[in-house]
């Protein structure tokens, strides 16, 4: 880590584990529930948020001294909306099928609490470099959870990863399916994501007991 000082490195590493936006701050849950039925969608969502947060944090940080504080929320919304529209258009141009599955949820990145939260809490008060690192870190923390949840939900729910069958063919009964295995339909529906996220929180807190809040 010669590139970054320890303090800067923590901006990226903290949100990955001990200050994760989803499992610790419990932000951005809605999209984590909605789009994680497939790994591919999770990855695309993670990358989109990475882009929006990295660039958005830089823009807000650049503007931080000229934004009147009364209308800062509106300015933030405009920045994030612009970035989201860019993502949406890119997806429509290069991954049309996927943009249909993600549909409204790309647009809803605008309301993702993590993004507005980081703009408010960090980018408005910090320099460009640190804001960028913070944005990347939080987006990665969000993305990691999304990908873990997406991995388990797609594997157990559909028996595929990135749409490629890994457990055999459920119709021709090959692989695991030949011995009576069946896909778990529960994993396809959004409540399953809530439970998978819950299990991740459980595992994380039992490994690091300092995270458990006082009752």
């Amino acid at each position: 880590m010669a590139l970054l000082s320890k303090k800067d490195a923590n901006l990226i590493l903290d949100p990955l584990a001990d200050n994760n936006p989803i499992t610790i701050q419990v932000l951005g849950i809605c999209s984590a529930l909605a789009i994680t039925a497939e790994l591919k969608a999770s990855v695309v969502m993670a990358i989109s948020v990475l882009f929006v947060m990295g660039v958005g944090n830089v823009v807000i940080s650049l503007l931080r001294n000229v934004i009147p504080s009364k209308i800062r929320i509106i300015v933030q919304l405009i920045v994030v909306a612009t970035l989201v529209i860019i993502v949406d258009q890119v997806l429509k141009a290069f991954a049309y099928e996927l943009s249909k599955t993600l549909s409204v949820f790309v647009g809803l990145i605008i309301t993702n609490c993590i993004i507005m939260g980081r703009f408010e809490a960090f980018a408005l008060g910090n320099g460009i470099r640190r804001s960028f690192l913070d944005g990347i870190g939080n987006a990665l923390g969000y993305g990691v959870i999304l990908i873990i949840v997406g991995f388990f939900r797609e594997l157990l729910g559909s028996g595929t990863l990135f749409g490629i069958p890994v457990l055999g063919d459920p119709i021709a009964k090959t692989g695991l399916y030949s011995i009576g295995y069946e896909n778990n339909g529960f994993m396809i529906i959004p409540p399953a994501a809530l439970i998978v996220v819950g299990i991740i929180i459980w595992v994380q807190r039992s490994r690091n007991r300092a995270l458990i809040e006082e009752a």
Partner: protein, 421 residues
């Protein structure tokens, strides 16, 4: 030295060790421990948690036995046709039915108990607490509320899910929000719907034979009604068959008679709340009556897909499907149900009411008892909260309005005041 003393000695030897809870569970299951209370009040009642659980299991045994025979009866009748002049001992209680039923039902029981207790033991050892008895009843309920042909590995997965997510994450027995047995059933239902609904899963072998020349059907009564085939249903089953339970359904839930007896047993041993049972029955009758009235007034056309279930006589809802079983054995769960007496009336009534409502309006699957009970499980603490607040408010009001008499020398005024509050 007898086994009892030996076990006491082993217990002392391994006290505080990691596996001690696992051993203690067996020990206290077999014998009363030789410990005595060291301090505080010494009050001993015989109805400890184990006794409570065993009483419920006792009440479930008739359902289990009936389920075993019924599994065989439904299977052979579906193949050979239903007997013309049904005789209980000739057609129902015979070795053929028993052997087939035992070989299909007992594995469910074994898997349910084996997996569930294993999870409980693991958690007890990790957390270092004693193994709680909570799973004894759940383990018996689970095989009775699933279809006969549920693959064993699915049951095992569901049991792990139900015990861990439904119970252990909340802190184990007595802390759970949802009834674990119903959590297991709900998981099975949402995860593997093809094995939990339809007209093939309720009779042994029907899934295997589907699509072949030997295909057999095992449509449940509610299944017929959901498709509007009321006349066909009545041609196949009559009311006494529904009441006595010679109908396809989940393993142990078909016989309303035995459930009724089990319920009375639980009421007389004061294990289960009669308030919940009675109010749930009333609730389902009320909803059934409303639906019947809708039909009587002609507000719903006959071609409507709800017509079959809506026109079903309101009281007959109680003798088909899992309603009776759910009311007697699941709704009355003392942990997940309401605790206050008034709360129990509301809780029970809504269970019955919503069960029949879901039954009629559920587009995918004509049964809703487990969903209704799980929903009310979630609301039970809220109901209790408002019942208690209401009580507090009423008494506060009474205190405010109480006539305050001047304090007399002998304190009679103060006494009177205390009485009115």
């Amino acid at each position: 030295m007898g086994l009892k003393e030996k076990m006491h000695e082993i217990k002392l030897k391994y006290q505080g060790k990691k596996m001690a809870p696992a051993f203690n569970a067996f020990h206290t299951f077999l014998f009363t421990p030789n410990e005595t209370t060291h301090s505080g009040s010494h009050l001993r009642a015989v109805d400890d948690l184990k006794r409570t659980m065993n009483t419920v299991i006792l009440a479930l045994v008739p359902c289990l036995l009936f389920g075993i025979f019924n599994a065989g009866y439904q299977h052979y009748s579906a193949i050979n046709g239903f007997p013309e002049n049904f005789s209980l001992f000739e057609h129902f209680i015979n070795w053929e039915n028993f052997i087939l039923g035992a070989t299909t039902v007992l594995p469910l029981v074994v898997v349910s108990y084996g997996v569930g207790l294993l999870v409980e033991f693991i958690f007890a050892v990790i957390k270092g607490h004693e193994v709680e008895e909570g799973y004894l009843v759940t383990g018996m309920l689970v095989p009775l509320i699933v279809p006969i042909d549920t693959p064993l590995w699915m049951l095992a997965v569901a049991v792990v899910f139900g015990v861990v997510i439904g119970k252990e994450v909340f802190g184990g027995t007595g802390m759970n929000i949802l009834n674990p047995a119903l959590t297991i059933r709900a998981f099975l239902f949402f995860a593997y719907p093809t094995w939990m609904s339809g007209d093939k899963v309720w009779v042994h072998d029907a899934v295997e034979r589907a699509g072949t020349a030997d295909a057999i059907s095992g449509e449940t009564i509610l299944g017929y009604l959901a498709q509007g085939n009321n006349t066909e249903m009545y041609a196949k089953y009559d009311l006494s068959e529904m009441f006595f339970g010679f109908i396809p359904g989940s393993v142990g839930e078909t016989s309303t008679l035995l459930i009724l007896l089990g319920g009375l047993f639980l009421i007389f041993t004061k294990i289960a709340s009669w308030r919940i049972m009675l109010s749930a029955v009333l609730g389902s009758l009320a909803m059934g009556l409303i639906f019947n009235m809708v039909v009587d007034f002609g507000w719903i056309p006959e071609y409507s897909k709800f017509y079959g279930l809506m026109s079903f006589d309101f009281w007959q809802h109680l003798i088909v499907g899992g309603l009776a079983f759910g009311i007697v054995y699941m709704a009355t769960d003392p942990v997940t149900g309401s605790q206050t007496n008034k709360g129990k009336w509301i809780y029970g009534f809504l269970i019955g009411f919503i069960s029949v409502m879901i039954r009629v309006f559920n587009p995918g699957y004509p049964e809703g008892v487990f969903l209704a009970i799980l929903l009310m499980n979630v609301f039970a603490p809220t109901i209790d909260h408002y019942v208690i607040r209401g009580n507090v408010r009423r008494r506060m009001k009474r205190m405010k309005n109480a006539t305050i008499l001047p304090d007399t020398v002998d304190g009679a005024g103060a006494e009177l005041k205390a009485e009115t509050v």
